[in-house]
């Protein structure tokens, strides 16, 4: 009985052109120990909701239409650098070889934040994002599995992975897609973990972000996979617009999705 109804809803939503935006996954909170923890203490994460898919070009087009100050031609440099929506032909259209249903990238942190706000949502915190991203298809924390880490590492090697439709990678334990293997994603507090990019030096700093020397000397693939994500985050600033960097939104679990949009 359940399935046909769901299917029906899907069709309705798709017909109105909002195939993914109201699809959020419920994440049951808990605690986890981040790899980078300078104190190895567990971090707790509350219940929350997160978009099942990264925000797509098509979805972002609608945002720009309703919020002209985020048009390519009108955005302020302070909030988005010169590469903002670089893969768009103009304010409304994509370049010809781009996919409408691929994740929107070349968006700054400010822009991503504004988009989520417009949706009545927010960017996930770094801890929320990492918490969801620990999962593989079957388990909530797959970080110790070889296959999980190999998938991430092999993605680092794959050029132009932004050129894929959302949902093309695996659905994880929480029902969330594309956490790995497609694009990097903004988090609300992406810069709360700062590394200098000089790993040999970071190791000696007081605010050491890694498990002792494990991140550097270790043969632990798990650390390598995560290490590069933190290195990436620490290399960016809020107005950077990067080809391999997109985002998705989150929401506290007691809030409803923006009713204004559902009414559309």
């Amino acid at each position: 009985m359940y399935k046909p109804v769901l299917l029906g809803i899907c069709f309705l939503i798709m017909a109105s052109g909002f195939s993914q935006e109201s699809e959020m996954a419920e994440i049951e909170g808990g605690t986890y120990i981040p790899l980078y923890g300078n104190d190895s203490l567990p971090v707790s994460v509350e219940n929350f909701k997160i978009d099942k898919y990264p925000v797509t070009n098509r979805e972002y087009q609608m945002f720009v239409q309703e919020n002209p100050k985020w048009k390519k031609s009108e955005v302020k440099a302070l909030f988005a650098d010169a590469r903002y929506l670089d893969h768009w032909k103009n304010d409304t259209e994509l370049k010809s070889d781009e996919l409408e249903n691929a994740p929107v990238t070349n968006v700054s942190w400010f822009a991503a934040r504004a988009y989520c706000k417009w949706k009545g949502k927010r960017l996930p915190t770094l801890d929320e994002w990492e918490y969801v991203a620990m999962a593989d298809k079957e388990t909530a924390d797959a970080r110790k599995k070889d296959g999980y880490n190999e998938f991430i590492l092999s993605w680092y090697e794959k050029p132009k992975s932004f050129h894929q439709e959302v949902g093309s990678t695996y659905e994880n334990y929480w029902g969330v897609y594309d956490m790995h293997g497609m694009v990097w994603e903004w988090t609300a507090d992406f810069n709360s973990v700062i590394i200098s990019g000089e790993t040999r030096r970071d190791e000696n700093q007081d605010n050491n972000l890694f498990c002792g020397s494990a991140a550097i000397g270790s043969s632990d693939l798990m650390n390598y996979a995560a290490f590069m994500r933190y290195a990436f985050r620490s290399s960016v600033k809020g107005n950077y617009s990067i080809r391999n960097l997109g985002f998705r939104c989150a929401q506290d679990s007691n809030e409803k999705e923006n009713s204004a949009n559902e009414a559309l």
């Binding site: 590469r83 092999s154 050029p159 990097w184 000089e198 390598y224 600033k237 617009s241 391999n244």
Partner: protein
């Protein structure tokens, strides 16, 4: 008594060496100090070259402000025929562009990270005096550019590389190159200069396994390299891409080793290095056969070409050369010099290594039991042939008969092989040297005569003919016998 007599000598030796040590220390300090004081006159854009080329010498020019513009590019390219790899590069080549500076130069370094790249990168130049060699100040996100500057103080040949986490992976994917700091008066003039850098690569599939091969972290940690190559790929400097020189010329090679793991035993087959700037520094050694180049280190070698012909550059940890790709060619043209090298005095095939020569003592009974039947069927022949191939042929012709481009001809889908079975038998029995054309490519190498029995020849050829797209000929012992010369 003798020992007593000895002591003063030792003491004197010790003291004098101490003196020398101090003197040289003082000297070095002075030099660095002086270099620091050198004023720069103008701004100039650095000439950057892709390997194996080297920018023009700095000659007598004064120290300048030198602008170096470099871009990090992550791109897919070919490791060897049919094998693709995603390289991370400085300026799109492995190794990255050669930077040529002079003591006292102020380098203004612009490091750009291409917008399509996935990762942040940076650069650590071993020629920099300062924490991290510039790494910290050069950390740059995709689609961005950083500028930092440094003054070069110590002459020598230095490695630069990416030092972003995980460092090993960035280096293993090709992020290294060389920066030369010439002394004030410049290096002595030579006729030819080339840029070569060794690197080891770790792929999911083993050597030659076709397709896009991802980096294998575990193999890298185990230091179990699938490829050891010069300038980023197998055959980067062989055949049409071989380095060239003329007889009588002095050749200088700037040789670096990016690693990430292996130390190179750099050697040129057929040449003795007249001069080696050991580890790329000031110390010059003369008449060197093989020089050791550490990972993350370099050497400058010079030699005068006395005789025409082909010189083979190798890592003399020799399986790397013939089985993993660490091999390059230098072709020298010009008049023969009989005084130096007589050329061929007698024609013959050199055959020290064939299957049967190195014999180990064996248990006769066991041997008899293990001996194949006298009239093996096709299946048995294939099995036996495979074994012979594995121990005799595979080193040159490779596991899947693909050969080594430009050096050893392929056996897989090889027109030369399929055309004429008698000729193939003859070559196995008697060896072959001189030019042949296989699948449109010319090869000019030597195959030694194989010292194996008629039946073994029949088996191995049957194995080859019934594999890798060949025509399925079954070779018999009689056919082999017919080709024996008495």
């Amino acid at each position: 008594m003798a020992t007593l007599n000895f002591k003063p000598t030792i003491l004197t030796l010790f003291l004098s060496s101490l003196l020398i040590l101090f003197a040289s220390c003082k000297n070095d300090e002075d030099n660095t100090k002086e270099a620091e004081e050198i004023e720069v006159s103008q701004t100039m854009n650095a000439e950057l070259t892709a390997p194996p080329l080297v920018p023009k010498p700095t000659g007598r020019r004064k120290a300048k402000k030198l602008v170096v513009d470099m871009e990090v590019i992550e791109e897919e390219s070919e490791m060897t025929d049919g094998v693709k790899y995603v390289y991370w590069t400085f300026d799109g080549t492995v190794p990255g562009s050669f930077i040529r500076t002079k003591v006292g130069d102020e380098v203004e370094f612009h490091l750009k990270n291409h917008p399509d790249n996935k990762l942040p990168h940076n650069i650590d130049l071993h020629a920099v005096n300062g924490p991290g060699g510039g790494a910290e100040s050069s950390f740059v996100a995709p689609g961005h550019e950083v500028v930092f500057s440094f003054k070069v103080l110590n002459p020598g040949l230095y490695v630069y590389h990416c030092a972003t986490a995980p460092v090993g992976m960035h280096i293993a994917n090709g992020m290294y190159g060389l920066i030369l700091v010439e002394p004030e008066e410049g290096l002595p003039e030579v006729d030819r200069e080339y840029y070569i850098m060794q690197g080891d690569f770790y792929t999911k599939g083993s050597f030659g396994e076709p397709g896009l091969q991802p980096f294998d972290m575990q193999k890298a940690i185990d230091e179990d390299a699938d490829y050891v190559v010069f300038n980023g790929k197998v055959g980067s400097m062989t055949g049409d891409n071989a380095l060239t020189a003329e007889v009588g010329e002095t050749v200088r090679l700037y040789v670096g080793n990016g690693g990430p793991n292996l130390v190179s035993s750099f050697h040129v087959i057929g040449e003795i290095f007249d001069k080696v700037y050991v580890e790329g520094g000031e110390l010059v050694n003369k008449n060197v056969q093989t020089t050791l180049i550490p990972a993350g280190g370099a050497a400058i070698v010079e030699f005068k070409i006395e005789a025409p012909g082909e010189y083979i550059l190798v890592d003399h940890s020799i399986f790397r050369a013939f089985n993993k790709g660490a091999l390059a060619q230098l072709k020298a043209e010009g008049k023969e010099n009989k005084k130096v090298f007589s050329g061929k005095i007698e024609e013959g095939i050199y055959q020290p290594e064939g299957g049967g020569i190195q014999e180990m003592p064996v248990d006769e009974d066991e041997l008899a039991a293990s001996r194949p039947s006298d009239n093996p069927d096709l299946e048995e022949k294939m099995e036996l042939g495979k074994n012979i191939y594995g121990r005799t042929c595979v080193a040159c012709h490779q596991a899947n008969g693909q050969g080594i481009p430009q050096v050893f001809p392929p056996l897989a889908e090889a027109d030369y092989l399929n055309e004429d079975v008698k000729r193939a038998i003859d070559i196995v029995l008697h060896g072959k040297s001189g030019e042949i054309t296989v699948n449109g490519e010319t090869y000019n190498s030597v195959m030694t005569a194989q010292n194996i029995s008629d039946q073994e020849v029949a088996n191995v050829l049957t194995y080859i003919y019934n594999n890798w797209g060949n025509n399925g000929t079954e070779v018999t012992e009689e056919m082999v016998k017919a080709q024996r010369r008495n």
